[in-house]
Symmetry: C2
Subunit: 154 residues, 2 copies
DNA sequence: TATTGTTATACTCTATAACTATA
DNA sequence: TATAGTTATAGAGTATAACAATA
């Protein structure tokens, strides 16, 4: 278990994490937008939809993107404006909604994948494969901790 | 050097990184706002100001927060509305501006520090000290790579 | 009644572009 | 002319709260 005794060390770690994440996210978002006309969040939604049978509920997407349902509503609205997909009531159980990408959405996703690959290669450059695997492990822990923290404090 | 051959692996890593960072940042922001009435970015600005002699230029803060100068202008506007600090022309060379926290800003920073400590402890829980140190090292590399990537693609 | 999702509203943050002021 | 900073404007994203629809 990490045991940090000096306040300054804690703050430095925290600030470094926020700065690194912000820098990497801004870089990724700017590159995506410039080269694939797509925000990172829309890319992730398209990719998640594509790997989950092509259709998901808003509540599932909210879980995946660490946000609330009403934010998915507005996000899908914007994606519909971009003609990347649409939301449709599930006719069997009309409480539910199916969010589905269309042909343009899948085409844009395909175009964005190489951009994602370049971004990852850039951000991960000079990091050994072992370190990358460890980083992946640590990121999963951070994500889980942030998630369970959210529930605790809510 | 990392050498990833399978597109799915790359995408998974990329998406995991974005999701982890988003989840941690949202958790931190929500906790900060609820408990210290402060956004993470404002906390960082106050902390950076406090550890840099109490006064900095907009361009320096922009560098620190991975953003552009005009965003610092509006951020400091909002901080002035919160009565956390102010921006003043440097009278010796009127091209420059000094951003300075006031008493309330420093008090709010002090109140926010324990919140930051709790957030870090939550997000970093179950991570060993060795792993934390390695994470810190990797984050620095990611931040640097994102930064140099930005310059290259701009 | 509980759950799913939407709407209204306001705010933070960011990006682009054009601008002012100073040295 | 180059640099520092501001302003105007627009848009993405998020949070709160209230609401509608469905089972």
């Amino acid at each position: 278990m990490i045991e940090v005794n000096h306040e300054d060390t804690i703050l430095r770690t925290f600030i470094l994490f926020v700065q690194s994440a912000n820098a990497a996210l801004k870089y990724a978002d700017a590159t995506f937008f410039r080269r694939a006309k797509l925000s990172v969040i829309k890319f992730i939604v398209l990719q998640v939809l594509a790997t989950n049978g092509g259709s998901m509920k808003p509540s599932e997407l909210a879980e995946w993107t660490s946000t609330e349902r009403h934010n998915i509503t507005t996000l899908v609205d914007r994606m519909a404006q971009d003609e990347l997909g649409r939301a449709q009531r599930n006719e069997r159980d009309r409480r539910f909604v199916n969010i589905t990408p269309n042909d343009k959405g899948m085409k844009v996703l395909d175009q964005a994948k190489p951009v994602a690959r370049e971004i990852v290669n850039q951000v991960m450059s000079s990091i050994s494969e072992n370190d990358a695997l460890l980083l992946e492990k640590l990121l999963k822990v951070l994500k889980q901790n942030a998630h369970s923290g959210s529930s605790i404090y809510r």
